[in-house]
Subunit: 279 residues, 2 copies
């Protein structure tokens, strides 16, 4: 189904509303509980055989450790071209989506005969080891609005979802380092994340997700000034907005951002999770 | 996100290649292991409030017990209009897809605040109790090419998938009763289903799925003459085909049926599982 010269796969972006990090020593069991939105904006990976591995992101040479780990773990070298409209390092799970789409395209191109769960596990483990994500890969693999009930790769983790779909707008003021935040105050993060998770499981709606996300950002002290101001403006105009974990990024429901005259990119909540692109 | 007067959801059809029935007394734990293909052809349910429940299938009044059970379990009455291009009772999981799409649309319309897993559980249990399916609902909820490793609703079951996509053609010679087959020789079915499952998990490709499906149909004695002849013709022409469990139905990869001049409907392997239709 791939021609012999390249294969392509897509993985949605994933905006975390809140999370509790779960540490450990096994990268397949490490992860996070929490919830977020997958997006129709994501990462498309095109993989071609090559004698040594190179990675390009939107046509520029890039280092993405999670993608390198995936290729190493699958024992291949390849030229990987990643295309995405999403900002990098701003809370959209680009690293996880890149690892996941690369794993699926690589499996197809090289006839590696892995199952979906095996490829998700490879990408999850790579994202965890690279320090770039704890739950983005399993969320992006599912699509929709994933609730991460138990952390880790498919063998260990457990997912549910909020059955909803909606238009989404987003804008970003810059990046926030995942590893710096995780080192800061993981007990406070965990407690706030667990409370938010209970709230969303009691009433699994998009509105609850946004409310729980806003409260998480406030109580963990992660909310930066421009983000807080813009969320307040959207709320005053009757909209729903929250901060993306982890980035100086605002995500709004419907036309929440353009209604307050803020320039924003539009997309939808993702539907299908990771998919091969065979056209 | 629904207007107040109706809500709509889509669930893909599901063609079982092989299965092992798993009996029990709890409809959430009952199910089957096995594997199959979900299809871009499926069932769209439009649900409207009504004082008493009515169900229409392609505009004709119909009795679908699984759909009635879903509405009962969700404690609502409604007018349900189901649309599908799939033949009914011919191995496409129409009953399960109808139950699943109805559950998602009903949850949206009546603001029932269930999670995705809760709605999948409701639809699975309804399909099992109606005697119309053992694994179609959990497969249709996932999309793609689901491998059902452990049976039952999300809390009990375990799924994996074959990471592939392809064009599919299908044609049907008529229906085959699920309950009659299940009563016939469940030990032989189970043994053949387990062998096929091992085969597909060892080499998770579409080609293996079709080969395992053909062998299952032969060894269980379920293969009827017109189905066997057509599968043989497709194979002689270099194609891949198998029988749908349970229906006198042939499913072929790519243009396998039109290449042997057999009239067939075209679709693709399903991608996104069950989804709300909010346009």
């Amino acid at each position: 189904m791939a021609d012999d010269t390249s294969a392509r796969a897509f993985a949605p972006g994933h905006v975390t509303a809140f999370f509790s990090p779960c540490e450990g020593s096994d990268s397949q069991r490490i992860g996070s509980t929490g919830a977020g939105l997958t997006l129709t904006d994501g990462v498309t990976a095109t993989v071609e055989p090559a004698d040594r591995t190179t990675i390009h992101l939107n046509s520029e040479r890039a280092r993405l450790q999670a993608v390198e780990y995936v290729l190493n773990d699958l024992s291949v070298t390849a030229r990987v071209a990643l295309e995405t409209p999403l900002p990098v390092g701003a809370g959209f799970g680009v690293s996880g989506a890149a690892a996941l789409s690369t794993a699926f395209a690589t499996n197809l191109l090289f006839d590696l005969n892995r199952t979906e769960n095996e490829l998700i596990t490879t990408a999850h483990s790579a994202d965890v080891r690279a320090g770039t994500g704890l739950g983005d890969v399993v969320a992006a693999a599912r699509g929709g609005i994933p609730i991460r009930i138990r952390p880790g790769a498919p063998e260990y983790g457990e997912l549910d979802g909020i059955p909803a779909n909606a238009e989404i707008e987003y804008t970003t003021f810059g990046s926030l380092s995942t590893s710096t935040v995780l080192e800061s105050d993981s007990q406070r993060l965990s407690a706030a994340g667990e409370r938010a998770l209970r709230q969303v499981r009691r009433r699994p709606t998009v509105e609850t997700l946004f409310a729980a996300g806003r409260r998480f950002a406030r109580t963990t002290g992660l909310l930066s000034t421009p983000v807080a101001d813009l969320i307040a403006a959207v709320e005053e105009a009757g909209g729903q907005a929250m901060m993306a974990m982890l980035g100086h990024t605002v995500v709004a429901l419907g036309e929440g951002l353009s209604r307050v005259d803020h320039e924003a990119r539009k997309c939808h909540i993702g539907e299908g999770g990771v998919t091969l692109r065979t056209e």
